[in-house]
Symmetry: D2
């Protein structure tokens, strides 16, 4: 259960108190505020704050005093132009703050995106909760034989069962030991010192959940989403990226639309790929052998052309 | 006059339309929104948007679901603790967006603070306005004889008058020539091509005004303010920093208070300085000769101790 | 003349003293070290230092103890794979330091690339040289009628002549006035105070030359080069990007080759563009009207397909 | 044992092949190159590459063509001036690349310093080694009663023994299970699929060792060292910071000296602290009650004054 009744009460309290503001307001974003969107078995993504909307992107691009144009069409056209021509700074003028609960091994991938602000729950200061990511059996798969860093065929039911038995057993045992080490009460009820939290945490495996506040501008968020909402990203981070896409779509619909068209749904062709394409459009039957590409390049080129 | 009637009408329109939001609202910041605070002869600083408030700093530090504590005292104590112990990430959870009009030579210093988002008025796309910074006579001073990169004694009235004559004359002439070069109408009224704006702008001096949207998080803003609201900063950028300080003070009063106490009003002592201080507190009369410091270090050390 | 005899002597001295090192050495980069490659009328690009080579990219990608593979082919294959799949961190493991002399208006575009280290010649501390960028007549053009921020048709000889007359005249006059303002000697030879340099510089136009040390990692350099060695970039910055490309090509030939194929020579297609392409490859005659694209998008799409 | 014979052979090979270069060479850094300095029980820090030396800092600050001054004293004076007045950009002109082996929970603290380049060993692609950090008994301590995020009194021998038993046992068991899950051979010797590495790694605890290449400029490295070579930093990251200090001291002795004096050995006083100090120097006996400081502030103030 991702959110306790107390936490839900705090969320409800925040959602019940609209206040007047003169700032840009996105109705779509307001609907998401504070609500925890579940991800994986115990994780979530919550929108905590946002700055700006589609119009704010245009206002910044125009360095204008007011809202600039009143026309939504004009704004959308400008946003698409900016996205197409890699004008990134207007998109940086929007900012989003998320509260995310996620397994540690996902957090370790996520943090590699450096152009963001992060405040993580401190396991030096606080005690971590007993919550571990245990994959759904449908997600258990063997090492891929094509992609050296991905997963391939689904595991047999027997292997899956054994994996889940291990993950659950080790999570329970390491957490029990963590709790025992930091406890100031011995098994016999007598007082003991209890190991410092900054040390005890080292016994916890990478599927334990952590939490953080993560704040990022829209340009860098799009960069994150392009890499992590992609089929090559590990499933466990992709579902977070997908959940964030749903929020962004409602927050800045025009910018998200341009992103979906020009980045997520688009493709990059190499100079060799472009050359082949021109030959194909001129009627030539190009093969890997005559393409000048390596096998890997050709396979990916075919993938782009469907 | 920093803002035209049309621009003022746009500002007034934005200020007249409060809308409900569920986000954190800072009453102090709302009062500033969109208003142009004049700086120098034609410049200004305008608050265009903000994210977060004092409570949001604490909420992020605690990675909490709601507002966390209801006690303003607790929040202030936490904020002071975070500032004192260089916990910078909670301050990064607040963000501010400013519209600034400033001379180009000030913009060139300002932009060296890289951890910010900037959208500048494009002189490739648009025509720059005929507005130049002409210093107040009280600001005209000779090169400092102590600080190799500052100003010292005030200029004589005669020298001042000559400087102002030059600055005004060259501004007028270079702008006239700029306008002539880009004009698509010749002096005789006949059509001409007009030089591309991206080229014509090169004739304009560094005291012409430009404008930008500048967005930065509170931690990096404090870093900017510590360096630029400082007595060693050039006057023409310091007045912008001072104007921003007034806005920040109203937006996040507790965080600004901690910043003023621990950074702006504080001082850094070297290991040698600390050593001398201990000797002085023990009753010894320390001089530059017995301090182990260079003359420059000693002068600055004496400056700190008043 | 970009480099004085004294400066050339300093460069020659540095080039005459090879010293032993255990670090990775790039023969191609060594050939460029310290030499000033002329750009525009008075500018240059000089390689001052570099870290890493093609093998260092692979060594970092493999987190290896030694050089990793001895095979240059393997390294090149890995580098192409990394570039194709947007693995940017191994390219960040190479670093380059350049000394650049460039007009101020070019410096203002350049500095918008924030992920770099910069040390600029200080006009608060030092006196700027009397060197201005005066375009070659062949570069003088009218505002583009298609691209709102570029240049189009060449100016007529008459208009060109007038532009050059203005640029030269105003450069000379504003510099004379700059020199007069800071001078500590009056026109009559009597002592005067002289205006502080930090103020006097405001009279100088944007085509005056400045200098800086610029240090950047290879990933961010490629990003800079993709945007600035592009046909849409302003000519005056593109020639610097082109000069840097020549250095990088010799420094890390495999990485540069992958960059040239996958980024510089490649193209990005939108989701709509991909859809059209598939229809065209299937034999359909697609037009702008049936493409679902705007006129601007269609024009750019046709541009990609040649 | 931190380095295998094969790895040592690779290191020796690299150390045996000096090559000529025209770049700045630091003799002190050359002595460290490639050698693994042991840290904790299985970790290390190795200098893999460096850019620049003390003279390069001055050369950049002066934006000079050659080495600038020949005088080491002048250079040291300039470096101390730059450090004292927070001129950070010249220090950014030096860069260092380290290969580090470290426990995952240390890596998670370390990575929060975002202004650096990182290439970590990929547990999606490769199999992690069976190496865990097991603290020396002398390092096992209880949660601090003063500092909520540190450690206090040493554990009793009994509690220590139990902690070590847990850490060793869980490390062994979770690694055995990790190996079993990814194995393509069942316990009976029959072929099985083997769980994908990107999933199996989630069973491994935070004291397992990882490795990365870490590249950072000198300014940002000093910032890291100030926070992590500090008494408040967790012991397990502080020993890495200490090891890096030893390398930096030899690489750029003047810059390190200025850093040690002005940052590491110095102290920051608040406005209130400065005020108290002036009263104390004037002979007044100031107490916490009359200081205007909180108890925590006063305790830290007394700490600074010894």
């Amino acid at each position: 259960m991702p959110v306790t009744p107390d936490q839900q009460a705090e969320i409800d309290a925040l959602r019940s108190q609209p206040r007047p503001t003169l700032r840009a307001v996105s109705e779509g974003a307001e609907r998401h505020l504070y609500t925890a969107h579940p991800v994986l078995d115990h994780g979530f993504v919550r929108l905590v704050d946002y700055m700006g909307d589609d119009a704010a992107i245009c206002q910044a691009a125009r360095v204008s005093y007011g809202r600039g144009t009143k026309s939504v069409q004009n704004d959308e056209g400008l946003i698409r132009y900016l996205m197409r021509h890699w004008h990134s700074t207007p998109f940086e003028m929007c900012e989003i703050k998320l509260h995310v609960k996620l397994p540690v091994f996902v957090a370790r991938q996520w943090i590699r995106h450096r152009t963001a602000n992060v405040n993580e729950y401190s396991a030096r200061y606080s005690i971590l909760d007993r919550e571990f990511y245990i994959p759904d059996p449908s997600q258990l798969a063997a090492q891929s034989t094509i992609n050296n860093q991905g997963r391939g065929q689904a595991l047999t039911p027997d292997e899956s069962a054994r994996v889940l038995e291990i993950l659950k057993g080790d999570a329970a045992q390491t957490y029990d030991h963590y709790a025992e080490m930091i406890s100031e009460e011995g098994p016999d009820g007598a007082a003991k010192q209890g190991l410092a939290r900054e040390l005890a945490r080292m016994n916890l495996p990478a599927n334990i959940y952590t939490q953080w506040y993560w704040k990022v501008d829209l340009h860098n968020l799009f960069h994150f989403l392009r890499l992590r909402a992609d089929a090559h990203a590990q499933y466990e981070i992709r579902v977070y990226a997908d959940a964030i896409c749903e929020i962004v779509k409602d927050w800045v619909p025009a910018a998200y639309g341009a992103f979906a068209d020009y980045r997520l749904g688009g493709a990059v062709l190499s100079a060799k790929g472009l050359e082949c394409l021109k030959r194909m459009l001129a009627g030539e039957a190009v093969t890997q052998e005559t393409s000048g590409m390596s096998k890997g390049e050709w396979r990916e080129f075919e993938g782009v052309l469907g």
